[in-house]
């Protein structure tokens, strides 16, 4: 095993089978936004078992995601998902919802819990509370800066999982407004949300995946990997739930190689890496909130290498 973990997320068996996962160490199975997402692992226990089996066969760590914002009528299905995760050999479940955390803690106490980004972990005090419910790894809220995350780690020594590349979740809804377009576009659910749909105001863009809103730009922390490692982080997420198998494979290849070199000094950034990142970032790249700025800014060391976009500004670091 390498000194870090690179993981991603896949919604269904079709995407799992179509994806080359060679560069990943672990995979989260399931779409966290919608029960109607096409063949969602979280609605199909047999598919979930098969997905876990495939990952184990490939030597990957299988993780199981859970819904970000469940209602009461989700709960029996979530209990079933947790049961499958526990019995089929998932190595952890990702939980965004506090009620689901309680279910996992009460009914599946042996199942390691990774707290997801929608659980609103903003502080060390929040980490400590969730630890009391069995959580062992935490994705801090995306609004936190690296400095704030470091403070949490320093205070409570909690393992963090950071989004290093891909579209950052910005919100989740009970509703899917794309359903309004079924008739107009002649495209039915569950195909609607798999179109490349972007909401734009000027140079500001967000991606719609139905009940979920993602950043339009791809978070890109490629040139900041040495900082992340120096801060003690070892668990890195490339968010590819709404991306193609090519994106999943190629971007992971870049990060696998880059992470392998990131401990070197100096950290030489390969021009080919930028070409891959640029090719897959339809709207451009950003750093999320990691540098205490608005989520769509890019605070690069070498912004010219990225070749994008309107909000790029040289970093003062």
């Amino acid at each position: 095993m390498s000194g870090f973990e690179l993981n991603t997320s896949i919604a269904n068996l079709r995407d799992l089978r179509a994806s080359d996962l060679g560069a990943y160490d672990a995979i989260y199975l399931g779409d966290i936004y919608c029960r109607l997402y096409e063949a969602n692992f979280l609605e199909r226990p047999d598919d979930l078992r098969e997905g876990i089996r495939i990952l184990r066969e490939q030597g990957k760590r299988p993780y199981v995601a859970t819904y970000a914002a469940p209602r009461n009528d989700f709960l029996p299905r979530i209990q079933k998902t947790l049961e499958v995760a526990a019995t089929a050999g998932a190595e952890a479940v990702e939980i965004h919802n506090l009620g689901v955390l309680k279910i996992a803690h009460d009914q599946f106490p042996g199942l390691p819990v990774h707290v997801g980004g929608f659980a609103n972990v903003y502080t060390d005090a929040g980490v400590e509370v969730l630890r009391g419910f069995g959580a062992v790894r935490f994705t801090p809220n995306y609004e936190l800066s690296l400095d704030e995350i470091r403070e949490i780690v320093t205070t409570c020594q909690a393992p963090m999982e950071l989004l290093v590349h891909g579209k950052m979740p910005l919100g989740v809804s009970d509703y899917c407004f794309l359903l309004e377009y079924e008739e107009k576009w002649g495209i039915k659910c569950p195909d609607l949300c798999q179109k490349d749909l972007f909401l734009k105001q000027g140079d500001w863009a967000m991606k719609s995946v139905g009940k979920g809103i993602l950043s339009g730009k791809d978070v890109c922390m490629l040139e900041h990997l040495p900082r992340l490692l120096a801060d003690g982080h070892r668990h890195f997420r490339i968010e590819t739930l709404s991306e193609s198998p090519e994106y999943r494979r190629e971007v992971a290849g870049v990060y696998r190689e880059a992470l392998g070199r990131a401990a070197d000094a100096p950290f030489d950034l390969d021009t080919g890496w930028w070409n891959v990142v640029r090719a897959h970032a339809r709207i451009g790249v950003c750093n999320g909130f990691y540098f205490g700025k608005s989520g769509m800014d890019y605070a690069g060391i070498r912004p010219e290498a990225v070749g994008s976009l309107l909000t790029i500004s040289p970093s003062a670091q």
């Binding site: 029960r35 506090l98 009620g99 929040g126 509703y175 899917c176």
Partner: protein, 310 residues
């Protein structure tokens, strides 16, 4: 007995809510409550409001529902004894860390998990009960029948926000505004002097972050037009859907389902609008549904906009 909890954003609004029959009123303390400056009270205004509530024999609750950074959190906790001295007994918070700490360090306090905590299921209610919350606020999107099972959890009071705006993104699960703009701004300087040592640096809060304090605006980006593109092709211009929820006609059903507190949203409402609103819900709660009846605001969601496949 089910009680009516009204919002207020000024001492005048507190008085209007009391006069209209609110059993309790909640206010925000400037710099520490989600929703921003328009609906927040200075310390002096809080003192005045508390006196007015006490004179009427009612309760005044304080929303401290932002998630401050660690330094600011220490300043927040410095204020708790002052609030207790003032006679405040109930705080409304939206962070599990703050909730847990308050319960541990200030056992005299009654702590409510705010609507921003995002509770929507019976399991969520159980979680907050186990954490020590005395009450949890559910959105009015959850109907009386569904609430019944959540109220049955027991050991924690269930409150329902019957009058509120439902926005597209769930409360407590949105950081679209800060994606476009995030700017630290100083906390207000009108807190009691003894709560801030001389020379101490004032804290910052994050404009644009709804969880950490919006300073009067979350930019309401969901209420401005967006162009929808499929790939590179423009396909529509649209708003994110939202609607006004006004469940006055369901008050009896909520009471029957075991809800302990009926809560209204609207700290930014002026007294002349707040009073009639509270009066209408007071009448509904007292079984006088015809009194003061005014047509509730229409649902703004398109007809096709149903909750599908939850």
């Amino acid at each position: 007995m089910t009680t009516l909890l009204a919002p207020a954003g000024s001492p005048e609004a507190v008085q209007a809510a009391l006069d209209a029959g609110a059993d309790a009123v909640y206010v925000g303390l400037k710099g520490w409550s989600r929703g921003g400056a328009r609906g927040e009270l200075t310390w002096d205004e809080l003192v005045t409001s508390r006196r007015r509530a006490a004179a009427a024999g009612r309760d005044l609750q304080v929303a401290l529902n932002i998630i401050p950074k660690p330094d600011d959190r220490a300043r927040l906790f410095e204020r708790i004894p002052l609030l207790l001295d003032l006679g405040i007994r109930t705080l409304i918070v939206n962070d599990v860390g703050i909730l847990g700490t308050l319960r541990r360090e200030f056992p005299a306090l009654r702590v409510t998990a705010s609507i921003g905590c995002g509770a929507q299921t019976a399991s969520d209610v159980s979680f907050f009960r186990d954490l020590g919350a005395h009450a949890v606020v559910l959105p009015g999107t959850i109907g009386p029948e569904e609430v019944r099972g959540m109220a049955a959890v027991g050991g924690i009071a269930v409150e329902v926000m019957l009058h509120m705006v439902e926005e597209f993104i769930l409360l407590g699960k949105c950081w679209m505004p800060s994606y476009v703009h995030l700017k630290p701004s100083p906390l207000p300087d009108d807190a009691p002097a003894r709560s801030l040592p001389e020379g101490a640096e004032r804290g910052l809060r994050q404009t644009g972050s709804m969880k950490r304090g919006g300073v009067g605006a979350c930019f309401k980006i969901c209420q401005t037009p967006w162009d929808l593109y499929q790939g590179d092709r423009w396909v529509d211009a649209r708003l994110f859907p939202s609607r006004q929820i006004s469940r006055r006609l369901d008050v009896a059903a909520y009471v029957e389902s075991g809800v302990e507190v009926l809560k209204l949203q609207g700290r930014s409402l002026p007294p002349e609008e707040l009073g009639p609103l509270v009066r209408r819900y007071r009448a509904a709660l007292d079984g006088r549904s015809g009194e003061g009846a005014v047509a509730d605001a229409p649902m703004a969601l398109p007809v096709s906009w149903t909750v599908v496949g939850r």
